[in-house]
Structures are given as C-alpha cells and as structure tokens.
C-alpha cells in the first residue's frame, strides 16, 4: 500500500518535477513542491493510521451555531 502510493508520487516526480527543473521554472517548482510535499506527508500520515482532522468539522460547527441560534 505504502509502496504503491510512493510509486505514484515518484511517477509524478519524473513526469513533472524534472522538466520544471530543466526549464528553470523556479517559482512554479516552489509552489508545486509545497503542495506536493504536503500531500505526500498527509498520505504517509494516513498510511500510518494518524487520523487527520477534517477541515469541514469547524465549518459544520460554525454553521450549527449560526443556524442553531436563529432556527
């Protein structure tokens, strides 16, 4: 499972990252890198069983508090 995900990410490194470096698109590479690494970290964490907090939970609570007080 872990190997599978890493392979997929590796594939994208080959496909995208290397051409970016070649063409010296540093800004794009930076953005790419940040998002890429974030995604990879999350993936690893999920593999390890860490329960990542959902961004929707605070939204749900916020809506509930607004609607609850009016409705």
């Amino acid at each position: 499972m872990f190997l599978f995900c890493t392979l997929v990410y590796a594939f994208f490194v080959f496909t995208d990252v290397v051409p970016l470096v070649q063409n010296k698109k540093w800004k794009v590479l930076a953005v790419y890198g940040v998002i890429f690494i974030t995604a990879y970290v999350f993936t690893v964490l999920t593999e390890l069983g860490v329960q990542l907090p959902s961004p929707l939970t605070p939204i749900g609570d916020l809506v509930a508090s607004i609607v609850g007080s009016t409705g």
Binding site: L3, F4, A10, F11, F14
Partner: protein
Amino acid sequence: MKKALKRGRILCVLLVISLLSGCWNYREAEEMAIVSGIAVDKEKDQLLVTFEIVEIKTGNEGNVQTQLISSEGKTMLEAVRKTIKTTGKKLYFSHAKILVVSKEIAEEGIIRIIDLINRDAETRFTTNFLISREKTAKEVFEQQVVTTNILSYELSDMLTSQRDLGYAYEMPEYKFLQELAASGISPTLPTISVRRENSQSFAEISGSAVFKGDKLIGFLTGEETRILLFIKDRIEGGVLVNTMHSDDGATNISLEILDNKTKMKPYYDGENITIQIRTKTDVTLDEIGGQGDYIEKDALAALKAAFEAQLEEQIVNLVAKAQQEYKSDIFGFGRSVKMNMPEVWRAIEPRWQEMFQNVGVSVACEINIKNSSILSEPIKVGD
C-alpha cells in the same frame, strides 16, 4: 537525460501495474457457498437459521444439488458467520430468493430478522418473504422438490405463478418494507405450509399472514387472500366459482378472471369514515357444469348478478373480519384517506387504530362477462 526520465516513468508505471493486478475483494467461486433460500426458527432465545446451499457438481449437464445447513446465533449475522464452522466457506447471498420465517418469531416482531437482509449489500431487495404456518420454517425446506432441484427457486416460481390463482401473492422485501413503513396500511405476507399426502409431503403456498406493526397476529385462508387481493387491486387472474340454482338443478359455474380494476374512495362525514369499494372485473364464462343454459340473455344477467352479489358479500365479510378479529388495516383504507383527503388524515391519523374498526364499507362489484369461450351454448345432451 530524457531517456532516463522516460525509463523512470515507465518503471514506475510497471511497478504500479504489478501491484494492482489482483484485488482486495477477490473471491473465488469455489470458496463461496451460494445460498438460494433462508429459513429462520427460534431455538430457546437464539435464532436457528437454515440455509439451502446450491452445489454445482462439475460434469455432465451441470448437475445441481442442494444441501441444508443450520446454524444458531443471537442475531442473524452471527448465525450466518457461524456456518463457517461446518462448511468452511463463506455464504454468498446474492442469489437468495426466499426467506421463510416461522410464525413464532413473526409473532414477536419480524424486524429482528429482516434488518440484515435489508441492510446488507449482498442480499437483494427482491427477496421474497414467506411465513411458515408449520411449527418451524425449517421443515419447509425439507420437502420434496417437484420440478427443479433447488427448492427455494421452486418456491419462488410458485409464488409468481400464484398470479393465476390468487391464493397468495409475491411480497418482495422492498414492497413489504413500504407497507410496513407507510402509515395507513398494515402489511401482509404469503404463507407456506406442508401438505401431507399418503407418504409424501409437499410444500404448499397458500393464504397470508396478517401483521400489526411488525408483529404477526393472524392468518387468512387462500380464499380470503383472494378477496384481499381484490380489495388491494392486485388481482391478475384466477377463478370465480358459484353455484346457480334453477329448475334443472344446481349447476356450478366457473368464471375465469381476465382483468380487474378496483377503486377505493373514502368519505368522511365528520365522525366516521366510509370507504366505497368499486371493483370492475372482466371475465370469461369458462365452465358450465350442467345443462342449464346460462349463456342466454336473461339467465346470463341473473348469473352476473349472482356472482356480483357473492363477491360483494365476500368483501364485506373480509373487511368485518379484519376490523373485529385483527383490528389491523390490511387493505390500506387509511392510505386511501391520506391520498384523497390529506387534511382529514392529518387530523385522524393518531386515532386510526380505533377508527378503523368502525369504518363503514359500501361495495359495488361489476362483472363483465366478455364471452363464453368457444362454445356458445351449454353441452347438448340428446336422448
């Protein structure tokens, strides 16, 4: 550099593909025991579940045999999984067509049994439910098969063919759930019993079981079930039989039902509900058991009137029985009120259980005799 890139990519893809071949949810056909029917009984406080399992023997002409396996458990799923102790295979339910429940369990509440069938993704919503009139549901499965090798499938076919008789009717799971959930109608289920003749015994599907909520409270005979179907507008075929009396004596007449349409209309006078039931049946005069000429105009009219009166009486009787003996609205009178007079229904719904018993019924049956098949006269008898 470009070549190395390309090679890197291809390598990744190949590795991924090799990891992907094969599945997580891979199941060999031989590792599964295919269930065709389920019977549930009570054993002290546990459930005794019997499964009819189909075994396919390889060889000439796909020989098919069935086996019965029983297992106990506090819940349905526990019993299901415990069968692994004896079969070594996991049960596969997608082909299960029949569920037979013993009346003992049904009297306590049938939801205990059917939630698994409902919820599990493998079981199908078109599974047919039956209630066993015998002491157990299991013995139904132990009967002889007549036409095919798989008893459950045969029972399923028997249910479907009831269209031409009307003594029972198919109740697939999703329809049962609809009637159970709906306010204004109580569900019914077809019943199955064992008929013993000489030294042989057969499974027989006839009649229905009456529910109140999800608990079984009584039974209807085959004849009564047919009337129930008339009221619920679910008649698709069958026979109407009556005896006509004349100077020639008593003659038995058969009318074959071609089609029927029933209309239910509720009326409210502020206090009580009256339901007007109108049936319109197309029939053919299929059998005259004597020499009396009932095809001739006046006699035909008398015949029509007699049959209509008979049907009306039967309907009135059945409604009375449901009201007094079972106090359960199996006809959907409440639902009729809800559909036609929603405001009234909203007001009376909480009291419907009692109000149902006082509902008045006005019945009008119309029988259209379309033809007398290929004979235009009764059989002639010379000297």
